[in-house]
Amino acid sequence: MTLPRAALLLSLALGLAACSSPARFGAGGPGADGAPLSAGGGFGSGADGVTSGPLDPASPEYFSQTVGDRVLFAVDQSTLNDEARRALSAQAQWLMSNPGYTAIVEGHADEQGTREYNLALGARRAASARDYLVAQGVAASRLRTVTYGKERPIEVCSTEACYAQNRRAVTVIAAGAAVS
């Protein structure tokens, strides 16, 4: 897939996502210029040609919402459990079906640890997820890793319910050429 094609898909997907509540959007929104919304089989044409429908399976939104963009880890661990391996297999399949995208695998930790240890732990988790994707066939050149340590929790409470969600590796899809 070429870069412009990926960019087009991305903008279409954004248009579709924005139209998930059709009543709130009218003329002027992305896709309102009558551009064909072929990918994903949009239906339910509304005023001004705006359509609504399921996410484009080739869109980053589909990846994050339907395929699932994250795996969770036990305290201090970076090993992948069965659930994580299943999730990463699905991610790998999507990435191989959509070769125009690259991805950054983010590693995160909960707040129960020092800042710098958690940076190292996040790097370990991101690499663990990345290595599994590569083993499933995704070209390593399409993946980069980054650690956020405990700097970017997704849940903000200070109990295990939140910590469990924060000990994660998240695959963030980006359009563009392979990273070197």
Binding site: T114, A120, A123, I154, C157
Partner: protein, 443 residues
Amino acid sequence: MTLLRFLIAAILATAAFAQVTAPARAQDGPLRIEITEGVIEPLPFALPTFIAETPEAQSWAQRITDVVAADLTGTGLFRRIPSDAFVTQVTQFTPSVTYANWKAINAQALITGAVSVTGGQISVKFRLFDVFSEAPLGEGLQFGGTEQSWRRLAHKVSDAVYSRITGETGYFDSRVVFVSEQGPKNARQKRLAVMDYDGANVQYLTDSGSLVLAPRFSPTGDRVLYTSYETGFPQIYELNVGSVSRTQLPVPAESMTFAPRYAPDGRTIVFSAAINGNTDIYSLVPGSAPRQLTNAPSIETAPSYSPDGSQIVFESDRSGSPQLYVMPAGGGEPRRISFGEGRYGTPVWSPRGDLIAFTKQNAGRFHIGVMRTDGSEERLLTASFLDEGPTWAPNGRVIMFTRESAGAGGQPGLFSVDVSGRNLKQVPTPNAASDPAWSPLLP
């Protein structure tokens, strides 16, 4: 009791690592300095407002006196006697005083001073008297500077007084680099900032566009090492504090780098690099390629040089949980030094060389603690939901650290505690703050 006795008492309190639960309170009876199970009775001192020797010096004299008083009382070692208790007022800066007048109010020390202002330049003179020995303690001293530097002049007076009474160097004329934080917990904005040790004169060194972490001052206080996400990935940078210009440092290929610290030579740095998920410690001498100091599949991070530059203490989970290790500065077989319960991190070698401060996590609580460099005589100084990241005052007597509160609204702030465990208090900052690193004593 004389000032000398107080000096000995204060040193004993440090050497014996006496357990202390709360700062001593002033008693109703006669003031004395005693150690009772490690509790030091603060030394009562009289500090009449410094004399204004020129008309424009009036407000400066008041402000400088206030800062000296705050410095000294802020240590928990001294207690200021209110001026309305004075038998006599000081109206002239003279070399002799009537000791009986100060004995009468049980002042152990008397500090007198004078301030003059000419052409935007401030001059501060002071004298220190040992009231019960009826003798000056050291010569009078004079400090000069611009009006902008008035707080530094006050801190210099405090450092001299502190040093003469305790026999140790002071730490008041120093700065702290830290991370100023704003915004919700899941989208925190962070900026590098510097302030005086007491929270005054905050200046920002970076904008909030990129996440920044864990700064460290150079041994000369003119540069700062830190980690920034400005490329989208954590990388180490050096920032010149005066010009606020920053340089990205040469690091191993394909690495994320963090936890940079200076060696005592101020040129060599040591840092962590994560390559393919594995974090090891590297050193970097300007003009040379990075050199790998540890080589293990475990996490090696949070390095800190001994003050003589010969050894590095760091954190590693090679045993299965994070513990502290010491290795030669050039790399080599590490020796584990932490053996207590729980997890240990962020070791920082004291500028005196005798102790290592650390973060400890045990049974759901965080502590700041100290141990000898062989790991013996571990003592925990604090306990809370989350304490981490100790930094030493330049004289090795006080530790500043980050304390963060729990929950969705949890915020970090800066706290300090005496190495004996006394005098825990928050350092005021304009916003939430974390990752303090103390400068050396300024020249």
